[in-house]
Amino acid sequence: MTATVEAAARCGQECRATARRDGVVPALHRLNAVLSPDAPPRGASGHALVPVDAAPLPGGGGATAPGLALSAPDPDAQAGVGRASAHWRLGLAWVRLGASEGLRDLVLVRLGERHTEGAPLLMKQLVKGALADVLTEHLEAECVLGEAGTERHGTGRHEAAWDEAGRLGRVHDRITRADRALLRLLGAQGFTLPGPGWEAHLSELLADVYRERRVVVSPEEA
């Protein structure tokens, strides 16, 4: 089944909103249901990450949380069988952006509630600056993903210029860095499980498994 450009774009925005509100796993369920309904797609190395509602937490003594189950690599996937479609890969980036925005929302609330020296932590200039940097990352990622949706699947005029591994890969890298910056603002709260650190970890795993292989471009071609 091939999704239309409009349906894929709509799905991306819905998954972003779901990830922001409910987390990575519900958003991935939704992304798969719309853009890969037959089976969870596989990445370039043949692995798949399947959303599950009760994954065992590492060192958790039997505790579980919504998470991801790793499927053994399928050799056929490296030849393209069952691989994630371009629509799906773009949708995954929207999921990760939404999850990162949700983490940002959480930081705003938590640091607004914590006080030091008579003022909310949120109002410290270093915190303001760090959050402004994260917001800038998110705004720029939104621009690039929006452009990707129209370039990759639009008129075809830009098809040759679209370097997914480089450009989408960079968005994934920047989202990861934004997540790490937000987790630092939460202190040790972002390191214990489950919680925001777990969500960011799941998001990083998805970026890792579904990243495309890099194609090197020389300066004159660029």
Partner: protein, 375 residues
Amino acid sequence: MTELPAHLEELRRRARGWAGDLRAAALEVDRDPEAVRDLFDLPAVGYLANRLRSADSGDTLERVVVVEELARGDAGLMLASPGPSMAGVLVDVLGSPEQQDWFRSRLAARPAWTCFALTEPERGSAIGEMTTALSPQQDGSFRLDGVKRYVGNASRASVAAVFARRAGADRLGVTAVLVDTADPGWTAEPLPTLGLRGARVGAVSLDGVRVPAGRVLGAHLPPTRRGMWGIVQVFNRLRPSVAAIALGIAGAAHDYVAERRRELRGAERAAFEEIGRRIEAARLLTRRAAAAVDARPSDGYLASAAKARACELAEDATLVALGCFGPAARVEHPLLDKYARDARGVEFMEGTGFVQRLNLFQGLHTGRVGRAAQC
């Protein structure tokens, strides 16, 4: 903002064609900023000198498209060019029809410079700290006293837009006036700068300059739109253009590497490609910010993000480019050295990165930017 409208794409192509002239003259103007007086025939200089109307709908996007291409030629020479520039945007937003006519008539007769005098020594651009005073006189005119710093083209401007505090006004009671720099009491001299030398950044002294009542901008507007409201709108319109200057400098350095180092490998190649992707991404953000301001002039938060982002990029891109040429690159590649010096200058235009971050945080904290979309 996938594609520019056809008329802007055509203008962008023309501007790109003009940029080569600017690049060819860049080092000469860097050595002698007054060399710009011999370059009035260049199409880019002519365009900047004659573009007298600024505040039309869609203007901010148009400006960022042109400015990026021209700054990719040379930011210093672009800023050295005569024309309405930042003062033009201020006059278009806050000026009465008579004031706009007076301003344009001063520029229409011959290529003439304008300047935008806001910043003060030791106080920067903080409106609440401004001390330049506008005092009413018995004949209905005003008297202007104070000092300004870091004003582009101050020493060669024939018309100046000057910000001042009205006598007796509250902390934010700042207004802007138009000054004929030939009037007694105005003196300006250039300051030595590390980069962007063409812009002739200067210091201004205002010693009892007489300002006729008709030169006080915004007097014809309702009281709520005279002061800070209008000034913020002007700054919101200008900020994406500063981002575009930074993008142009980054692009110039990137082009320089692409033209001269065709066999980049390993880490050098990765760094080069990363800068290319950052330029593309920052351009998308800058154009979106410009479109947001055009749609709603009070919406300047994206412009803050774009400005901060692009200025960091300009510094990084020029340093990465220098790194591609090995030891003594700054000596053996003077144009690249100039780009690296110029890149530092955009940080201080229209609010530093710290100021933009605080503004952006304010938007985030109040929910004016970064809100969840309704799906």
